[in-house]
């Protein structure tokens, strides 16, 4: 059963663009990405869209659909009325490359600034022992498919380009939390790093990131809040403070840049 629906798709590039109108065939059971592909095949071969798995597992096809961020491959057409115009625009927080494709390199740059997992010096490969209950906390954050929608909706950077320098964003806060909670990570300054280098303090816990996460990771409750609380604990413990100043300063800096 097929119907003709009205679509408005943002077409343009870094120099500007506009919403372009299309009437396009829609079949039962389709998702928005199917319609974008049909536009490519029939009306606009050069329409740019990023996608890979088409199964909600790779996080490539993030966009804004009628103003709401979502994965194009997981947004069913039957969630719209038959007469409803469907408007598809690129995610707003990152610079447009062309049409629905944006430059998400911000996220990869921030990922390079977090000190990597540091293996315990005394364990050889094959000797790692961890309990399931202990790995599960970090495993929740490792479900992240890097769709960067949490970054896209975060108030701190969505309309504040000037904050991007100092703020890593929710995707990287869960990376910090994941390493902090990793049973065998050898570093113990993950919270300090999140506070001092990643801009964790900018977050005012509006939970937009958690709401948009397609993997239902409790970003705010399980990562950001615990990281904030423990940073406070540690910062006001004079012994820890002294220890950090004396022993860890150089490591902190080498990890930071």
């Amino acid at each position: 059963m097929s119907t003709t629906r009205h679509f408005r798709v943002w077409r343009g590039d870094d120099e500007g663009g506009q919403l372009t109108d299309y009437d396009v065939e829609v079949n039962e059971g389709e998702v928005v990405l199917d319609i974008i592909h049909r536009l490519q095949a029939t009306q606009a071969p050069e329409l740019a869209v990023r996608w890979n798995c088409k199964a909600g597992k790779c996080g490539s096809c993030s966009a804004e659909i009628n103003g709401k961020p979502g994965l194009l491959c997981m947004t069913r057409m039957n969630t719209f009325g038959e007469d409803q115009t469907v408007t598809v625009t690129p995610v707003r927080t990152f610079p447009v490359i062309k049409d629905l494709v944006t430059d998400v390199s911000f996220n990869y740059e921030k990922a390079r600034e977090i000190p990597a997992f540091t293996p315990p010096a005394d364990l050889k490969p094959g000797e790692y022992r961890m309990q399931q209950v202990d790995v599960e906390r970090s495993q929740e954050f490792r479900k992240c498919i890097e769709c960067f929608m949490c970054q896209n909706v975060c108030h701190v950077i969505r309309d504040h380009e000037e904050n991007k320098e100092a703020f890593a964003g929710p995707r990287l806060f869960i990376r910090a939390a994941e390493l902090d909670m990793h049973p065998l990570d050898a570093r113990d300054d993950r919270k300090e790093f999140a506070k001092e280098e990643q801009g964790l303090g900018f977050c005012n816990i509006t939970k937009c990131c958690t709401e948009v996460c397609p993997e239902h990771i409790k970003i705010t409750d399980n990562a950001i809040i615990p990281m904030k609380e423990r940073v406070v604990d540690r910062k006001y413990d004079p012994l820890t403070w002294l220890g950090r100043k004396i022993f860890r300063r150089d490591q902190l800096e080498s990890g930071a840049k």
Binding site: G29, I97, Y108, R112, R129, V135, H182
Partner: protein, 640 residues
């Protein structure tokens, strides 16, 4: 105005592909001190490896201490119906545990056993629980771990050189369209950047192909848009050989409805946990499809099959758990006989077999997938499923130890390489394959660079001009007189699906080859407008060359092999023939097409053959081979 400037880069090792094999190879090359580039067709961390669900097979013996590399080797060879390259299977079985343990030092967090080791799960064809896993998202864990290890190496370089990219650089959304040779040796790779269409030349004496498979040439597939056989085609055009291209794995259970998700994988665990297959008449048809050789191991009544789930020691397993190729063929037959569902599949039902809460607990992602994408609640109604093109066993013929192809400096690892899996791959052996041979490819590519020293091959201007001209050929201001690349792609997918699919016949394969020749002519007339900036139509027009070459290789090899084995089923030659087991079909590039020849399968040494019972060998080997085995065995006896 088209700008034909080419940005030149110089590297020691260029890795094409950023899935598991490519990333593991790049790590090894960089650890060997080589300046390494990773070319990723998509964004970094999005490669097809993220789709892997079940796990990575490695005989660590964490759950059953009887497991060891010999048992894993045996399972792999059985799964491949004795056509595997024995040396690859041996290296794979021996080295997989080290490659998995190594991932923990990169930060991977696998599910655990009670004593804190890496947990391992059962899977089809594996004698013991063997798959290291993270729920049903093992591939994501693998790729994220490798991605983060690469970042960690870049951080080391930043500290040393002040530049993250000093010795390991990632080129995201970049496609290689040609390999460039100098006197038959690898001299570099040429391609474009999606973002702006800029041309890039990578001068490098070593190139590692890690580009995955060819599934996008089929209408129903679990593969993504990237799977256009780039590495297979690049290798052929550079003078390397492909082996085993007739063997494609069709996973028995892909979604068939809605069209939007047709081909999307439904995990084998559904059947492992009690899911049954029924046709439109409500019959559990798999009982009609138990082949003679498996009669002894599978239940012949529903009652016995049902009892197996709770009492596996005293009952035989239900035929829903036959190997993938058997189940896929059976489903195909039912649908062709008119006993399929409304949308051309069969029913896979867990709703009448388990309580809703149990289904949600044991199959959370399947529950989620059907609910979100098909409005189907699998706790209440059956799923509709059918075979989907999943994996190509065939690929670049490589030296097993070094992963080097016949072209000096050209290496291949992962799905793009051939031989390891023989005629059929076991589930779980792909993630371990890409780690084992990714590492080896990186290591030996680095060695190749060392051996060359200053005698590096040179990229000629002539070769570069030809690559530019070919890439630009489909791009015009007004495409209205030309062929639409999407139309050619859809028609190719249709032909491959219906004529070179799961069940094959000589006439249909001949027909397919005629059609592929026609597509080639049409491809010369494919035209795209819209310029070079992130233009998917242009990208597809270029990829189509690779899709057609790989499709021709598959069809030609499938026509030649007049037997049925693993992922190659001939309706007109239904039996497995021991004399064909000794033959590999090898594809090479000639006259803008595929030349096919026969080549002996490397002979498995006696010590590896001895891992099998003689009675099992007798099912696969020719009489002469069995006689040779017996006389070898008596010689062994004399020594003792």
């Amino acid at each position: 105005m088209v700008d034909n400037n080419i940005t030149r880069h110089s590297f020691d090792v260029v890795v094409i592909g950023a899935g598991g094999a490519g990333l593991r190879a790049a790590i090894e090359a960089r650890l060997a001190g080589k300046k390494t580039a990773i070319i990723s067709k998509s964004l970094f961390g999005k490669a097809h490896t993220v789709m892997a669900e079940g796990g990575a097979a490695a005989a660590m013996g964490n759950v059953n201490s009887n497991d060891n590399w010999q048992v894993h080797y045996r399972d792999t060879i059985r799964g491949g119906k004795f056509l595997n390259n024995y040396r690859m299977a041996e290296l794979h079985a021996k080295e997989a545990p080290d490659r998995i343990w190594e991932l923990e030092t990169y930060g991977a967090l696998f599910d655990r056993t009670k004593d804190g080791k890496i947990s391992q799960r059962n899977f089809g064809g594996h004698e013991y629980p063997r798959l290291a896993h993270v729920g049903d998202r093992t591939g994501l864990e693998l790729i994220r771990t490798l991605q983060q290890k690469i970042v960690s190496l870049q951080q080391d370089d930043f500290r040393e050189f002040g530049d993250y990219d000093a010795r390991l650089a990632v080129f995201a959304e970049t496609t290689i369209t040609e390999l460039i040779l100098d006197d038959g040796k690898i001299a570099g790779a040429f391609g474009y950047r999606r973002e702006d269409g800029e041309f890039l030349l990578f001068e490098a004496p070593a190139v590692i192909l890690a580009t995955g498979g060819v599934g996008k040439s089929f209408k129903v597939t679990s593969n993504s848009w990237e799977y256009t056989g780039d590495g297979h085609a690049l290798a052929m055009r550079a003078g390397a050989n492909l082996v085993n291209m007739e063997f494609l794995q069709f996973h028995p259970t892909g979604m068939v409805w809605p069209l939007s998700v047709k081909g999307l994988l439904v995990t084998e665990s559904v059947r492992g946990d009690g899911g049954v297959l029924r046709n439109s008449e409500g019959k559990r048809f798999m009982f009609d499809y138990i082949p003679e050789v498996f009669k002894a191991q599978y239940a012949t009544t529903e009652e016995e099959g049902d009892r197996w789930y709770t009492d596996p020691d005293n009952n035989k397993r239900p035929p829903e758990l036959l190997p993938r190729d058997e189940v896929a063929r059976a489903i195909n037959s039912e649908v062709k006989a008119g006993r399929g569902t409304e949308h051309g599949g069969v029913f896979l039902d867990v709703s009448t077999r388990m309580k809703p809460e149990e289904i949600i607990k044991r199959l959370p992602s399947m529950h989620h997938q059907f609910k979100e994408l098909a409005d189907v609640d699998i706790t209440k109604v059956p799923m509709e499923v059918g075979p989907t093109c999943h994996y190509v066993m065939g690929g670049v013929e490589v030296d097993p130890d070094s992963a080097e192809s016949a072209v000096p400096g050209l290496f291949a690892a992962g799905e793009v390489s051939g031989g390891m899996h023989g005629s059929n791959r076991l589930g779980g052996n792909s993630l371990s394959d890409l780690l084992v041979f990714g590492k080896r490819a990186g290591e030996y590519a680095a060695l190749h660079v060392d051996r060359l020293a200053d005698a590096r091959p040179v990229v000629s201007q002539e070769a570069l001009d030809a690559a530019v001209a070919k890439a630009l050929a489909p791009l015009v201001d007004d495409p209205s007189d030309g062929e639409n690349p999407y139309t050619v792609q859809y028609e190719l997918q249709d032909i491959m699906h219906s004529l070179v699919g799961i069940i094959r016949r000589a006439e249909e394969l001949e027909d397919a080859l005629v059609k592929i020749a026609e597509f080639k002519k049409r491809l010369a007339n494919v035209r795209v407008g819209g310029g070079r900036k992130y233009n998917p139509g242009w990208h597809l027009a270029i990829d189509l060359h690779n899709m057609l070459l790989c499709s021709e290789a598959v069809a030609k090899a499938a026509l030649e092999r007049t037997e049925s084995r693993g992922g190659h089923t001939r309706d007109d030659h239904g039996k497995m023939d021991p004399s064909w087991r000794k033959v590999n079909l090898v594809c090479s590039y000639a006259d803008n097409g595929v030349a096919l020849r026969r080549q002996p399968v490397p002979t498995m040494p006696h010590e590896l053959l001895s891992l099998f019972e003689r009675s099992e060998l007798a099912k696969y080997l020719t009489d002469e081979e069995i006689a040779a085995f017996d006389s070898n065995g008596s010689k062994d006896g004399d020594k003792e």
